[in-house]
Symmetry: C2
């Protein structure tokens, strides 16, 4: 595995024509830039493409992906349930190994500038890369969506970070930024009462007084006849997954409801699983040299 | 990382002269056979050497290690608290990746035969490699130790599996076998009452009615003024570590005592940590494709 590793998760505004999404994703795939996941959502008419690679190769791959998406997606005819402002809607970079958040911010700025210059698409920097507090939140940037963005982009408060204040006619605008790894974590409750899921979600999420790095909503799972607390953990290092689970469990118990089970949607890093195991076992310490495979990789490295 | 990986953990009867132990361990170290841990115990006058490698390279490394140990250790002058019958006392092979237990049994037989032929050391096959039930347990084989083994080896019931029924004059005999990975797991109890540790140990260990793959003893931790349940988990796949921890916790609670903390001595495989995390989070499933780094390694492999 390369020593510097970054994840990039472009979201593109096409989730119905699989061949188009696969073509766009394949454009990114090249030596040093691996396509590790591709997830289409037909209702949202949107896809999530997960790439992993060394910073330089990843940047090249992302630019190829944008190039193909601009050719193949026209927002003027795009309809879907999910809000969007661009053919490539959002491009987050996530530090995985051997790179800092500051490195990813720098990478997002380089890629953002290149997108503006090569494709004449206006670029907004968001999350850790944001140039002011107001632009940190993607939802705030995207407000008005593609249809109203020709107006919004001329507002002096909303001049793009890169590129002129002119929307790309078919590809719109794009948000590029750096953020922590996001874990999508759902906990299913052994009840059909949606109010319990909504109450538990409200208790654990940041926006209503809960844990700092948790977003949560209550949903029904129609087929199973139960309900779900659906969460995004936006910083598992500071708000660890086991703490979130245990709080959900306690809040559900308070309503007399037990946990039916839970699931990870997409991927979870080892660095989130190890602490969960260590906390469950009350380990006083879990050094990486104590984990067999980590120690072997270290020894292989020393031996080189 | 190589696709076939075996661990070998030779125990040698020298734990005081560090330079001797390091020389013996270094003899094993060669391309494809990595030395990943070295642990000396002066009171026991015994050392545990942890090697990892592809089966063929590992076998070569182990034979070099035995060769050096025979030169440097003389059991006729050896004293230590731990029972032993050989200069190299025991050589267990453990399947880690891409090899089965049957492969490790076969490997242990090959290495055992080579030890008998090259060094004229009688070899007993134990654990999964044992040729009869009576030889499965190392303690039973080792009974009488080096001092009484010249007698025992002539008993028709105790003829060696490889080599003539003659003890090596200075290096004694050796047990070679295959077994599952062993996790040394200690749980500290928030009490100074040794009876509680002994009671909990008796409740959880196999020999007195507890969990199948658990050995346990109660010890005082003099410096910290608390007590410890010290365990060997001999098959973490069948008796998972979180289940052991939770049973210890319940049994301690029954005596009004809570857990102060726990520790892994040596190493623990990922394959033991992932299920502990999954169980603690009540995950309905934890596929390896859901673990980011496993998925990346898979994608790197596909890309080759």
């Amino acid at each position: 595995m390369p020593s510097s590793l970054v994840e990039c998760v472009p979201n593109v505004s096409e989730g119905q024509r699989r061949e188009v999404v696969e073509e766009i994703a394949a454009a990114a795939s090249q030596p040093g830039c691996l396509l590790i996941d591709l997830s289409l959502d037909a209702d949202h008419n949107r896809s999530v493409i997960t790439l992993v690679g060394e910073p330089r190769s990843l940047a090249r791959g992302v630019l190829e992906l944008v190039s193909r998406a601009v050719e193949r997606i026209d927002l003027r005819t795009h309809r879907g349930a999910h809000p969007r402002m661009g053919a490539v809607d959002v491009v987050p970079f996530v530090p995985l190994r051997g790179v800092s958040m500051a490195d990813c911010v720098e990478l997002s700025r380089e890629v953002g500038q290149a997108i503006a210059e090569r494709f004449a698409i206006p670029v907004y920097l968001y999350e850790e890369s944001a140039t002011c507090e107001e632009r940190r939140n993607l939802a705030t940037i995207r407000e008005g969506e593609f249809e109203e963005f020709s107006q919004k982009i001329r507002d002096p408060r909303w001049l793009p970070d890169f590129g002129g204040p002119v929307l790309h006619p078919s590809a719109g605008a794009v948000a590029v930024g750096a953020r922590e790894f996001l874990i999508a974590f759902n906990v299913n409750l052994a009840t059909s009462d949606l109010r319990v899921a909504k109450k538990v979600a409200a208790a654990v999420r940041f926006s209503s007084g809960g844990l700092r790095y948790v977003k949560a909503l209550g949903f029904p799972l129609e087929k199973r006849g139960i309900v779900q607390v659906s969460m995004n953990l936006t910083n598992f290092k500071k708000t660890p997954i086991l703490r979130v689970f245990e709080l959900v469990k306690r809040e559900a118990e308070r309503c007399g409801v037990s946990i039916a089970g839970s699931e990870i949607v997409g991927m979870i890093p080892r660095e989130a699983l190890y602490p969960a195991a260590a906390a469950a076992l009350q380990l006083e310490e879990l050094a990486s040299q104590s984990i067999l495979e980590e120690r072997i990789e270290e020894a292989l490295h020393e031996g080189r």
